[in-house]
């Protein structure tokens, strides 16, 4: 009887650990799949005058 309870506790712990691992994997995969936005080409020209400041 006790062996059965122990096995059940181990299964619960295993399921909890697997849930944590799956959540971490899902989060990282989702974030990397989204990536970062490409943005847009700046309208500013290539400079032929000396800027006063950065």
């Amino acid at each position: 009887m006790y062996q059965l309870l122990l096995r059940e506790a181990r299964m619960r712990a295993l399921i909890a650990a697997a849930t944590g691992l799956a959540a971490a994997l899902a989060l990282v995969l989702a974030v990397t799949a989204m990536g970062s936005p490409a943005g847009h080409t700046s309208p500013r020209p290539l400079l032929t005058t000396v800027p006063q400041h950065p």
Binding site: Y2, A16, A24, G35, S36, T49
Partner: protein, 330 residues
């Protein structure tokens, strides 16, 4: 109740412990990249430089020569190349515009530099050029890769259109930032005349007819912040000569430019501040968060085990170790 809490804590412990290496070795290499639409300008100055007066064809001392360097990310061009290359690509259109003390143009050198947004490896595609001439770059230009290593790199020289080693010469501190110092020497090399000359009516073709050639040497120095791979400071000891031909009136050679080109002070301060901020962002993904998550995972695991132990009823027998079944004999 305590057992339920310990299971939730265990799940969170595994979540954070797993997130730590995933962030460092899976997410960071994929997320850390040069933005395709970056725009950046830089001003460098050569004080007390020598400059050729094309009117008299004699070298003269001038108070200052200014170099304005602009890098502009071309998002449309990068997206077009990405479709065929199958990876994140950055296209930088750049212009090095050199201005004399009188404000007139001395030279200008446009370039198109195409490279992998993550690794900084050059990508060869139509449009890669220097002063309108197609080139095939090897190595890096303008910037080092993220997590720069203490080793020599191949660095592209736009004047000679070739790549040569840029040597790692040690670790230093520049304005409170730990940097790797790199140095490259380009020996005297015959180079092309710029497509656009400072004197109207003079073209590279008309100069070629005189038999006069253009020669160049430089010592290039960079102080590179290794986490971001961004140079925080750069300078160049640059010399150009015109040699031979009928243009020089019997002289063997004349100095076209000679000077130590250094970043302007306000741009140094701006660059150091920018690199420090970017360094923190990179360290967040490569060090602060991974270590923080790992420690958090360990703490949550310890708390989970503690709650599990407390949750057991007093007098509960400890489980007997599982024994192997007895072999059955006939």
């Amino acid at each position: 109740m305590r057992r339920k809490a310990s299971l939730i804590l265990l799940a969170l412990a595994v979540f954070f412990a797993a997130l730590s290496p995933l962030l460092r070795w899976y997410a960071f290499p994929r997320l850390a990249k040069i933005p395709a639409g970056q725009y950046q300008d830089m001003v460098l100055e050569a004080k007390d430089a020598t400059l050729l007066d094309y009117g008299t064809m004699k070298a003269r001392k001038v108070s200052k020569v200014t170099v304005v360097q602009t890098l502009k990310g071309n998002v449309e061009a990068s997206e077009k190349i990405e479709r065929s290359a199958g990876r994140d690509v950055v296209v930088w259109d750049s212009l090095s515009y050199v201005q004399g003390p009188d404000g007139k143009m001395v030279s200008k050198l446009p370039e198109r530099y195409i490279f992998d947004a993550h690794s900084q490896e050059p990508v060869h595609a139509t449009g890669e050029s220097v002063d309108g001439d197609p080139v095939t770059r090897r190595g890096i230009e303008f910037k080092w890769p993220f997590r720069t290593e203490k080793r020599d790199y191949e660095y592209f020289d736009a004047q000679t259109r070739t790549s040569a080693p840029i040597h790692y010469k040690g670790t230093r501190t520049f304005r409170g930032v730990e940097v790797y110092y790199f140095e490259q020497t380009i020996p005297w090399t015959k180079v092309r005349f710029p497509k656009i000359m400072p004197v109207q009516g003079v073209t590279p073709e008309s100069l070629a007819k005189t038999g006069t050639t253009r020669w160049y040497t430089t010592v290039r120095r960079f102080w590179v912040e290794p986490v971001t791979g961004a140079p925080v400071y750069g300078e160049e000891s640059h010399k150009e000569e015109l040699r031979g031909g009928t243009l020089l009136g019997g002289r063997d050679k004349v100095t076209a430019f000679s000077g130590d080109v250094k970043m302007r002070e306000d741009y140094i301060r701006h660059t150091v501040d920018l690199v420090k901020a970017n360094r923190t962002l990179v360290l967040l993904m490569t060090s602060y968060l991974p270590w923080g998550f790992l420690l958090l995972g360990a703490a949550l695991l310890a708390l989970s085990l503690y709650l599990e132990a407390r949750g057991r009823r007093p007098g509960e027998p400890t489980p007997a170790p599982a024994t192997d079944p007895e072999p059955v004999s006939a």
